[in-house]
């Protein structure tokens, strides 16, 4: 994913017009709170990605985000039994 890096090498999920866009898979699936607690430091022969905030707090935020995502998925998903019923009704109507 693309993140935006400011002059202090801190990551952001949106660009205020002064930041550099970088593409990295390090933050794939990560929430905004997690991403914005990180630094992305690019040098000539290396890239270093590390937290500038306490990692345990960032990790806790990410786990809470994943719990919320799972809860939304479960709430919006259709039970398989309902799908089977609809399928049979469709078949039987032909």
């Amino acid at each position: 994913m693309i993140v935006y890096v400011d002059k202090e090498n801190k990551c952001h999920t949106s660009n205020d017009g002064t930041m550099t866009a970088v593409e990295t898979d390090f933050f794939d699936g990560k929430c905004e709170t997690f991403i914005e607690g990180y630094c992305y430091e690019k040098k000539e022969t290396s890239v270093a990605i590390y937290p500038w905030k306490d990692y345990d707090e960032l990790d806790a935020a990410q786990r809470e985000y994943e719990r919320q995502m799972l809860a939304e998925y479960q709430e919006n998903s259709i039970p398989i039994s309902d799908l089977e019923t609809a399928y049979r009704e469709g078949v039987n109507s032909v």
């Binding site: 390090f26 022969t45 290396s46």
Partner: protein
């Protein structure tokens, strides 16, 4: 100044040097060096000894300098101020940095810090790392090739697009007081990655921090906001374009 630690006779000196255990009720000007190796002789002098000066096993060298953080008067009657700035001990043919402290009458003042290596030119630092290898590690769909332990370095290498050369600490390492980890690559054919992860399963996806290297040299990674135990994992991936990749490193050091 050379002190024979076996003692004898009247002592005009106003300090003493002791090893472990840490004194419970120390007198002022007690220098405690954190070592279990017996200390037959102590040397106070600048600078630190060079490699070409072998001495008696267990000799402690207190380097003196111009920092007054742990300064003390070395004499009982007159005054010679001594400013210790470091401590080393000669153990098994090599000088080893030590944690060392001066008791100033009120508190312990640290003037020397032991260096913490995860790997040092042939030494796997097993007391901290548990050793190096790929045991217990998994990395996406790549099969992991074990590292080659050279006499003074470690080489990781892939030889197919579907595998990766890797080396990871077999134990998790406590990074609570560590600010930086540095690694010295003596060779990198394409890319090497260093992942700091709290799990051996897919360290890249679960990395708390990482640094990549595409050329030889020293690389550092800020881990000051990581508390607790983490695995250090180094990997180079094969690919369709470059199935044969390799990287060699000869030391990894942690800094408080």
């Amino acid at each position: 100044m050379i002190l024979n630690m076996s003692g004898g006779g009247s002592n005009p000196l106003n300090f003493k040097v002791v090893g472990n255990p840490q004194p419970e009720n120390p007198k002022g000007n007690t220098i405690w060096v954190n070592t279990d190796v017996p200390i037959p002789t102590c040397v106070l002098a600048p600078p630190f000894p060079g490699e070409a000066q072998p001495v008696e096993e267990g000799t402690v060298w207190i380097a003196t300098g111009d920092s007054y953080d742990a300064a003390f008067n070395a004499l009982k009657k007159d005054t010679i101020m001594v400013c210790p700035v470091g401590a080393m001990q000669y153990v098994s043919g090599a000088w080893v940095d030590l944690d060392a402290y001066l008791y100033n009458g009120a508190e312990w003042v640290q003037f020397s810090t032991a260096r913490l290596f995860l790997y040092n030119k042939g030494d796997k630092c097993e007391a901290i790392t548990g050793g190096w290898g790929t045991s217990g590690y998994s990395h996406r769909s790549y099969s992991l090739r074990s590292p080659t332990f050279n006499s003074t370095s470690v080489t990781i290498a892939s030889n197919r697009a579907t595998n990766a050369g890797a080396a990871g600490t077999l134990n998790a390492v406590d990074l609570t007081d560590i600010k930086t980890i540095k690694i010295n690559f003596t060779a990198v054919s394409h890319y090497a990655y260093v992942y700091i992860s709290n799990t051996k399963a897919n360290p890249d996806s679960n990395a708390a921090a990482q640094v990549s290297a595409n050329y030889k040299g020293e690389y550092s990674l800020n881990v000051s906001n990581l508390k607790g135990n983490y695995f250090i994992f180094i990997i180079t991936f094969g690919s369709t374009q470059a199935p044969n990749t390799s990287a060699t490193y000869d030391w990894i050091e942690m800094f408080r």
